[in-house]
Amino acid sequence: MIWKSLDDFIAMGGYGFYVWGSYLVTAALIMAEILLLRTRRRAVEKARQMQAILSEQVKHEATS
């Protein structure tokens, strides 16, 4: 085992700031990309639903 304790693990031999600064920012950016993609997906889906409703209405008005 490389690490004696949790504190030892967090300290990273004195390089904690640099190591965790790298890993946490990377994790945050990847999370952000996934979240942004999810928001985009939902927006497209909503637009699609609106369009479906509208086209049904148009069809309905055309026949009546």
Partner: protein, 246 residues
């Protein structure tokens, strides 16, 4: 039997296939990330010169590889879009650009955090760092140019030309450490030489790189599906999709 090479070049056939593939790539990315992080933090030994700060390379090197590789793939799709005039190829190029830019930024960011304790500087204007920064600007230029042109097909062509011109930068990044006397060290892993690091370190790095691959594929497929829906709102086949849940 006549094989139709362009079958999957059509958004109609590609859309459901991409949807089925995404969970598998996402799952592979998650498993490989867990395995890679375990190796990086609990198996790979402390570096005798750099101490623990070297553990940054487990994301730095894969991110830098991805930044270059995604650019090449993006340029290939952009070129295919120009040559064959296939909509999907250009959409793939657009779907890859944000992820490529993300990995470029991660490579620069983690490089700075590694450089400070190792070299004593966050940033130096050496050939490797500068050409990687240019790569970030190329990705941003591609995205900005695409967003600036209203007609998507024209935007595809203009940004494809930009992507293709920018390809010259990739070999410059890769060989910069050989061509110039850079502060950045030479290649850690090469096809011709034995790796200059412990096997567990190398393994950790390769698994993290594979995780980045799987992640990039999953995200690019998810994004291209969004782009297809956004761009082909009016198409007949999308209207059919509306009748079933996504």
């Amino acid at each position: 039997m006549k094989l139709n090479w362009f079958k999957y070049a059509s958004p109609v056939t590609f859309y459901p296939v991409a949807g089925k593939l995404i969970p598998w790539f996402a799952l592979a990315a998650a498993i490989l990330t867990v395995a890679g992080l375990y190796l990086s933090f609990f198996v790979a030994p402390t570096d005798f010169q750099q101490g623990e700060s070297y553990r940054i390379i487990f994301i730095h090197v894969p991110a830098a590889w991805m930044s270059m590789f995604i650019y090449i793939v993006m340029a290939c799709w952009a070129a295919a879009g120009l040559i064959f005039n296939t909509r999907l190829s250009s959409m793939m190029a657009s779907a890859l650009a944000p992820t490529g830019a993300l990995f470029t930024f991660i490579a620069l960011w983690t490089g700075a955090l590694w450089g400070k304790p190792t070299w004593g500087a966050w940033w130096v204007w050496d050939a490797r760092l500068t050409s990687e920064l240019i790569l970030l600007f190329l990705y941003m230029g591609f995205l900005a140019l695409h967003a600036a042109i209203d007609d998507p097909r024209r935007a595809d062509r203009a940004s494809a030309v930009l992507a293709l011109v920018g390809v010259v930068n990739v070999p410059i990044i890769y060989f910069s450490v050989k061509w110039w006397n850079t502060l950045h060290q030479g290649a850690s892993v090469s096809m011709t030489m034995a790796p200059k690091m412990a096997t567990t370190m190398l393994l950790g790095m390769l698994i993290m790189a594979l995780a980045c691959w799987m992640y990039s594929i999953a995200v690019a497929l998810a994004r291209v599906r969004c782009i297809i829906l956004e761009r082909e709102q009016q198409a007949e086949w999308i209207a059919k999709l509306n009748k079933e849940p996504a």
